[in-house]
Amino acid sequence: MADVQVAEKQSIGFGKAERKLLTDPLDSNNPITVQVLGICSALAVTTGLKNATVMAIAVIFVTAFANLITSMLRNHIPKAVRMIVQLVIIATLVTIVELTLKAVAFDSYKQLSVFIGLIITNCIVMGRLEAFAMANNPYRSLLDGIGNGVGYGIILLAVAFVREFFGKGEIFGFKIIGNTAEYVLDTTQISWLGWYANNNLMVLFPSAMFVIGILIWMHRAWNKSLVDIS
């Protein structure tokens, strides 16, 4: 019990250590480009910014609360069954998200289909539970969960921006470059930057791989400490 007491003594304020918990996942410990966790959903839902935003919010919610709840229960979970306990916690939260989306935003729910369910096996949730929440107090775990969720969300939005902008010429569904569908019927409606032809490759799955690959390249070129020396 002695070390449990020590663990509880960690501060509740918001100092340098707490700020680090929030900002580290944005750069040097980013879930996607550094820890390489949670790739599957990052690839599948990034065809448009709208879906990516919904997904990002869902993941921030799940990582934050899964971390919080697991951290509260961490002294009561037997080691042998901890995986199943963690999965049940995550699955419960994901079910909440799924049913909420079904009620509030049915269109997004339809488009995201199985990928909402797949947040359960999104390794960043499980990874943070194992690596952080099982060893830290609830407050710090909550901050770590939010930080990692946001770090994940930022990459998601960046990829979705590139894919939607170049793939459809739109941002959040608003036409930015290229001609609209009405152009075919009414040639007087030549829009600004109408010469742009949509790059359909960007809508396809493999392009997400390329975009993330290039993001990782840029990230590592900028933050040299992350370069793979093996």
């Binding site: 369910g117 359960i120 997400a208 993330i212």
Partner: protein
């Protein structure tokens, strides 16, 4: 029989879990540094997908659906039950393999527990539900999906073993390159989309 073969080929090549849906990417990227370890993980995935898919089918159709035992729509429990089945099956498979074939257990090593969080497994079960397969079809879908994932991870591991000797820019080395390669492989697999499995 031909129908089942169609589903097998379709799920292995045309709708490849790894390269068309990009499921199971975490372990796919983490364990594909050498062909030997990739082989072990690939086999384990085929095994677990082949087992969990029929079990989840039974649960979905006899427990959760409205025509099941409880006569009520319990589909909101689907995610929790599916993941519990997967986690416990992985644990069970691990214990059985350890008891009866220690050599296989040692070669699979840490890959068995890793499979619990491989989204290809849960994703496969969810696709099985949304495609409304019957029992035999879901077995075929599970084995085919596992085989496709196995092929994909062996292929990327082989490429990554070779590319170690190439002059890749430092910042792109390792992970970045693996992403670009997987994208290219995904493009290659897209050309299989036009195949009509009924022709086999």
């Amino acid at each position: 029989m031909g129908e089942l073969l169609n589903i097998f080929i379709k799920s292995a090549f045309i709708e490849n879990l790894a390269l068309s849906y990009f499921l199971g990417m975490c372990s796919y990227l983490a364990v594909s540094k050498t062909v030997k370890t990739a082989f072990g993980l690939g086999l384990a995935v085929i095994f677990v997908l082949g087992i969990t898919m029929p079990i989840n089918w039974v649960i979905n159709n006899f427990l959760l659906s409205e025509s099941g035992i409880f006569q009520t729509d319990l589909t909101f429990l689907r995610l929790i039950l599916f993941i519990a089945v997967i986690a416990s099956m992985v644990q069970l498979v691990e214990m059985v393999v350890e008891k009866f074939s220690p050599s296989l257990y040692n070669s699979l090593g840490i890959f068995l527990p890793l499979i619990t969080v491989n989204c290809a497994i849960l994703g496969g079960s969810l696709f099985m539900v949304s495609k409304e397969y019957n029992f035999a079809e879901s077995v075929s879908f599970g084995l085919g999906g596992g085989f496709g994932w196995f092929l994909a991870i062996i292929a990327i591991a082989a490429i990554r073993e070779k590319i170690k000797y190439s002059a890749v820019p430092p910042a792109l080395r390792g992970l970045g390159m693996a992403f670009l390669l997987t994208g290219l492989m995904g493009l290659a697999f897209m050309s299989l989309m036009g195949i009509d499995p009924a022709a086999f």
